[in-house]
């Protein structure tokens, strides 16, 4: 095994789980393996550019972010197709692995998050799910650390507003339903 091979094997073995988790948090189950493979193909191609030690994982997250941007395009197309099929009375069979069961609060958190700007969604996830520091998030997203700090603060504020709005709508719906009875 060459030093290049050894370096790649070390990166793969050390960070495969984190990259898998990163992708799984953002994709349906059937899309994860391809995305993870794409990330490590890129890592292999750019093995000489991969920073060492604590910088390796944020670098891989940056690659994963790019891979997922591409993957989301095809996901959007697939969702459109699914909706179209659904409107024609054709339902795609559910794949159990597609879904991670979330409680009601978490479902609402995910829905509220989807209303934010994509880059703000990603900053929130990188901060609170991947637990990266501002400077690391800045490296992943090609932002300035100060911009990350401000965007994160604003994103959390907006997320809170969106969540409260959803809660209010849900509360009204329950109240209306109650009134109808």
């Amino acid at each position: 095994m060459t030093s290049r091979d050894a370096r790649f094997a070390e990166i793969y073995e050390s960070h495969h789980r984190q990259i898998y988790a990163y992708c799984r948090r953002r994709l349906d189950a059937d899309e994860v393996e391809d995305a993870v493979a794409d990330v490590f193909v890129t890592a292999w191609r750019k093995i000489d550019d991969v920073p060492s030690d604590s910088q390796t994982l944020p670098w891989l997250y940056g690659v994963a972010y790019r891979v997922l941007l591409h993957q989301w395009r095809s996901s959007a197309r697939r969702r459109r197709l699914s909706r179209r099929l659904s409107s024609l009375g054709v339902e795609r069979p559910a794949i159990p692995e597609d879904y991670i069961v979330l409680n009601q609060d978490s479902q609402r958190v995910i829905e509220a998050t989807s209303r934010l700007k994509p880059i703000d969604q990603e900053i929130l996830r990188l901060s609170l799910w991947e637990e990266l520091r501002h400077a690391e998030i800045a490296d992943v997203l090609d932002l300035k650390a100060e911009a990350v700090r401000k965007r994160l603060s604003r994103a959390l504020s907006n997320l809170t507003n969106e969540f409260n709005s959803l809660e209010k709508v849900a509360g009204n719906a329950v109240a209306q339903k109650g009134g109808a009875w």
């Binding site: 060459t2 789980r17 898998y20 292999w44 191609r45 197309r77 978490s106 959390l156 809170t160 969540f163």
Partner: protein, 281 residues
Amino acid sequence: MITEDQMRTLFVEANPVPDPDALDLTSEGLATDLAEFTRRSNDMTDLKTRKTQEESRPKPEGRWLVAAFVILVLGIGAVVAFQARDSGPVVADPDLTEIDVAMAAIDTYNTGDFEAWLEYWAPVGDERDLADEQFLTQILMAANERVEVTEPCVIVSTGQTRTVVECGIYVVDDFHAAGGIDSTGEWRLVFDENMLLVDTTNDLYEDEAGNCCRELENFHHQFHSWLSTAHPDVFAEIGPDRTSDYWYFPGFAKGDPSHMTIALQYVDEFVAQSDNYPIDS
């Protein structure tokens, strides 16, 4: 109603994979992947042996290299196939640099042609993807916002994922200019394959304390306060929608960018009667 601290906790709890170490990847994850790399490596060896005999057989040490090559070829094939399916809008000559595209995009922006401006954006780029972004741009275009490049655009990062271009700019529009408000700053554009993905510019109208847009907010609020008294019928039409305040351009109704065109007809009258505007630049 929950607070931001509670929101933070809920967001953490909504993590679909809170503990990567708990993932069951032993059967289908790492071990399988490594075995697959090896299998592909051997497959490649068999094929080559038939054709070129022993000399082309990879050495055992080279299996990673061969496996990676196979993955690379598959990956490139997938990307080519993917791009063939999803070419998206073609707006720029592939030989152009991101700086060329940035300059062309700025020129297009200054024409106020919103549809032409959209063509510079990737399908997943903010401007195409987000109704709020489109709304803001249409408001600013209605205000005849102009972007003047004051410092040459330069590529500041080619990163592992995207290319980042920064241009020193001066920004002014007819509505805010009436109040003496304009701004200089850096426009920071992130490109993905020569198409705009996101504008990560720090807030151009930030004050010394780092607060965004306060100057704009004050102007908007005073304008609308005056309008509600001086022209209540117009205010009723274009006054801000209190139920859905636009978070980074507060003070304008969310529904219709054409309201800016109406506001332009009254802003000089407001400034003429205002004690606070125009401000000294």
